[in-house]
Amino acid sequence: MITSVLLPIGLGAAATVAAMAMPPRLAMPFATMVAAAAFVLLLWAVPQVAGGAAITASFWGVPSLGITGGLSLDGLSLLFALLITGIGALVFLYAGSYLHDDPRRSRFAAIVLMFMTAMLGAVMADDVVTLFIFWELTSLASFFLVGFDHEKATARRAALQALLVTGGGGLALLAGLVLVAAAAGTTAISGIIAAREAVLAAPAAEAAMILVIIGCFAKSAQVPLHFWLPNAMAAPTPVSAYLHSATMVKLGVYLLARLNPVYLEHDLWQGVLTWFGLATALTGAFLALRETDLKRVLAYTTVTGLGTLVMLIGIPPALSATAAIVFLLVHAFYKAALFLVAGIVDHETGMRDASALGGLARVMPITALGAVLAALSMAGLPPFVGFVAKELVYEAKLESGDAAGLLVAGGFLVNAAMVAIAGVLSFRLFFARPRPTPKAPHDPGWAMMTGPLVLGILGLLAGGIPSLFGSWLVNPAAAALLGESVRVDLALWHGFSPLLVLSIATVAMGVGLYLAWERLGLVLRSLRQLDRFGPARAYDRVLGALVPAAARVTGMVQHGSLRDYLRTLFLVASLGALITLAFRGGISLPSVEAGWPDPRIFVPILLIAGAVAAVLARTLIAAIMASGLVGFATAVLFLVNGAPDLAFTQFAVETLFVVILAATLVRLPLRGRLPRSPRDRWIDASIAGCAGGAMTLLLLAVLATPFDPRLSVWFGAESVPAAHGRNVVNVILVDFRALDTLGEITVLALAAIAVLAVLRSIRGETRA
C-alpha cells in the first residue's frame, strides 16, 4: 500500500520533467493521464484509510538535524489528495481545449504538474520541514501561473502580489513551525500532536500559534490578507479553477485542520479562527456582490468559502469538524465547476461581465446544465450536497454555545448572498433575456464540458447518497481534524426542524437579493470610499515605500567606486580582526631566541624594501614594479623556508600578473602622477596601517600558539604508503583533501564565468 503514497508523488515529479520536453500537442493529454493515474492509485488506498489505518512511508530525512522527513496518508490527507488529483485530471482535460493553439502548453502542463506534485507532497507530509518545502513550492507554481501572460503588466503585478503575500506568510509559518517543532522536540507532525502538552506549555507557545495562523491566513486568503486572491484571477481560467479555488488556497485550511488536534481547546485559537473566519466570509460575500466580472465574483465567493472553513475549524464541538469536511468537498465541487463554466462563457462569448450576459442556455444548453447543477449545490438546495453542508454548518453554529446567535446571523447573510450569486451565475447568465456578445457562442467540445458536468453530478450524487461519502471520506478526514474517531451519519432529510426553517429563510432572502442584484451592485460600486482604504492600499503603500528605499540603500552600498570598495573591504576585515583580537585576549607575542640573525634575513629585507617603495612611488608603473618586488620576495621566502610548491606557484602568479598588466595597462597613463589628493593619501595610509597592523598581530598570535604537529606528521607518514606520492602538498591537494580542491576549482570556474559576464555587459555585448 506504500505505493499509494510514494507513487503519485514520484509520478508527478517525473511527469513534470517529461512534460517540459514534450511537444505542446502531447503535453496536456499526457498530464491528464498522469493526474488520472495518480487519482486511481490514491483511490486504491481508500478502504485501508477509511478503516482507520494511516499509510506511512519515510523517504528522506536529516537525522543529524532531527528532521524525520516522513510521508503519511490519513483520512484528511487522502481527501485532499483525491481532490488534487481528481480535479487536476479534469482541469488538464479542460485546459487542453481552453489553450488549444497556445504554443506554451508544454510549459503550462509542466508547471501545473509541478504544482500538483507539490500539493500532494504538502498534504501527505508527516514532517513540518517537508510540508514547508512543498508549501513554498506551491506558492512558486502559483507565481508562475498567475504571471503566465507575462507580457501583461497586470499579470506580472498580480503574480508578484500573490508571491509576496503568500511568501511573506510562508516566512511567518516557518518561524512558527520552528518554534512548535522545538517545543515538541520533533519535526514529525504525528509527534507534535502527541506532544501537545509540551507544545502548549512552551514559553513562546502563543507566538508560535499566531505565526502559524498568519502563514495559513496568507495562503488561504483570510481577512486582512485576502486581497491577493481576486487579483490572482489574471491567471488562465483553468488555473483559477484549480489553484485558486479548489486546491492551493485550501492548503492553509489544511494545515489549520492538521494542527487542530494540538490547539483545539485553546481559547485564542478558537477565537481567532472563528471570528477571522466569519469576518472573511462576510467580507467575501459583500465584495462579491460589488463585482460583475465572472472570475472576480467567483474569487470573492472563494474567499467566503475559505472564511467559512476557517470558522468551522475554530468552532469547538465535534460536529463542526464534519461540517468543515463536508463543506470543503462541496465547495471544491461547485466552485471548480463554476470556474470552468466561467472559462467556457469567456471563451465562447469573448466577455465575462455578468451584468451584460444573459440567455445563453439557448445556444449552450449543456454548459447551462453544468452551471445549474453547480449553482444549486452552491445555493444549498436539496437534493444537492450543498444542502447537506449548509444544514451541517448551521447545526454546528447552533451548537457552538455563547456565540451561536452571532455566528448564525453572519452565516445567514453569507448564505443568502451565495444564493443570490448562484442565481446570477446560472439563471441570469443562461435563462434571462439574451444580450448581444462579441462572438457567437455555442457549446464547446466534450473535453471542456466534462469537468463541470462531472463535478456537478458528483454534487448531486453526494447529496442523494450522502452516506457513501460520509463513511469513506468524511468521517476519516474529520477524525484527523479532531484527533479521535468520528461517526456522524450524513443525511439529506433531517425532518421538520428549526434548521429547515433557517434554510427556507436563507433561500427566500437569497432570492430577494438575486432580484435586486443589479441595483444592489450599482449602489455598492458607488461606495468608492471602500477602495481608498483596506489592506490592498496598505500593500501598495508599503511596496511604494520599499522599492525607492531599496534603490537608495543599493545606491549607497553599490556606489561603483572601485577604490571605495577596496577601502571598505580592507577596513572591515582589519577592524574585525583587530576588535576580535583585542576583546578575546588574542594579542600575544611569540618568544624569540636571541642570537645571530639567519642569513636568510635578506629576503624579508627585500620584501620590506618593496613595500616601502610601493608606498613612496609617485607613478603607477613604479608602484606596480615595487609590488612585483614584494611578490617575488615572497616567493623567495617560500623557497628558502622549504615550501617549493608555494614558491613555484607564487612565481607563476607574479609572472602572469606582469603579462596581464603589460596587456591591459598599456592604455593607462603609467608615467603620469597618481591622481590622489593629500587627504586621500592620508585615508589610504591609515587604512593600510590598520590592515597591516591587524595582519601582523594575527600572525604573531598564530606563532605564539604552540604548533600541533599531529596532522603534518600523519600526512608525512601516510603520503607514500596510502597515496603513492612523495610530494605531500600535492598528495593533500589531489587525494587526501580532493573534495576541498574540487570545491575550490568550482569557485575558480564560477569566478571566470562571472568575469566574462561582467566584462561582456560592460562592453554591451550579448554574445561571445
Binding site: 617549493p644 610548491d645 614558491a647 613555484f648 606557484t649 607563476a652 602568479v653 609572472t655 602572469l656 603579462v659 596581464i660 603589460a662 596587456a663 591591459t664 598599456v666 597515496a723 603513492h724 606520492g725 612523495r726 610530494n727 602538498v729 600535492n730 598528495v731 591537494l733 589531489v734 587525494d735 580532493a738 573534495l739 580542491t741 574540487l742 576549482i745 568550482t746 575558480l748 570556474a749 569566478a751 571566470a752 564565468i753 568575469v755 566574462l756 566584462l759 561582456r760 561571445a768
Partner: protein
C-alpha cells in the same frame, strides 16, 4: 602599441615550450614540486603571450575550445575522477585508485593524475578566460 616582429614570430614557439613545461610540471607533481595548479598557470602564461602578440581571435582559434568550456571540461574531469572509487563498495567518493601495469617497469597509473588534469584544465580555462576578455579585440 604593435607587438614587435620578434615577439610575433617567437610566440608560437614560446607557447609550445611553455605547454611542454606545464605538462612536465603536471606529471611530476605527485612526487616533486609541481602539479595541476601550477601547470595550468604556466600553460595560461603561454596562451597569454600568444594572445598579446597575435591577438585575441588568434588565441581563441588556437585553443579551439572556448576558455569557459575548458573550465567546464576541467571540472567534469576532476569530478569524474572520483567515480572509479565506487568500484570498491566500501570506499567514499574521490578515494583514488591505482594500477601498476608492468610494461618493462611498473608504471604507476592512478586517478589522482586525472584529478590533477582537471585542476590543470580549470586553472588554464579560468586564467585564459579572464585574460582574453581583458585583451582588446
Amino acid at each position: 602599441m604593435k607587438p614587435t616582429l620578434i615577439l610575433r614570430s617567437s610566440s608560437a614557439l614560446l607557447l609550445w615550450c611553455l605547454v611542454a613545461v606545464s605538462v612536465y610540471v603536471l606529471l611530476r607533481g605527485h612526487n616533486a614540486p609541481g602539479g595541476g595548479f601550477i601547470g595550468g598557470l604556466i600553460a595560461a602564461a603561454g596562451v597569454a603571450v600568444y594572445a598579446v602578440s597575435r591577438g585575441r581571435a588568434a588565441a581563441l582559434r588556437m585553443l579551439r575550445l572556448h576558455p569557459a568550456a575548458l573550465c567546464g571540461l576541467g571540472l567534469l574531469v576532476a569530478a569524474a575522477s572520483g567515480l572509479p572509487a565506487f568500484l570498491d563498495s566500501a570506499a567514499a567518493y574521490l578515494t583514488h585508485r591505482w594500477w601498476f601495469p608492468d610494461v618493462g617497469i611498473q608504471l604507476p597509473l592512478g586517478t589522482p593524475l586525472l584529478f590533477d588534469l582537471g585542476v590543470y584544465l580549470t586553472v588554464l580555462g579560468t586564467v585564459t578566460a579572464m585574460f582574453l576578455s581583458l585583451v582588446e579585440k
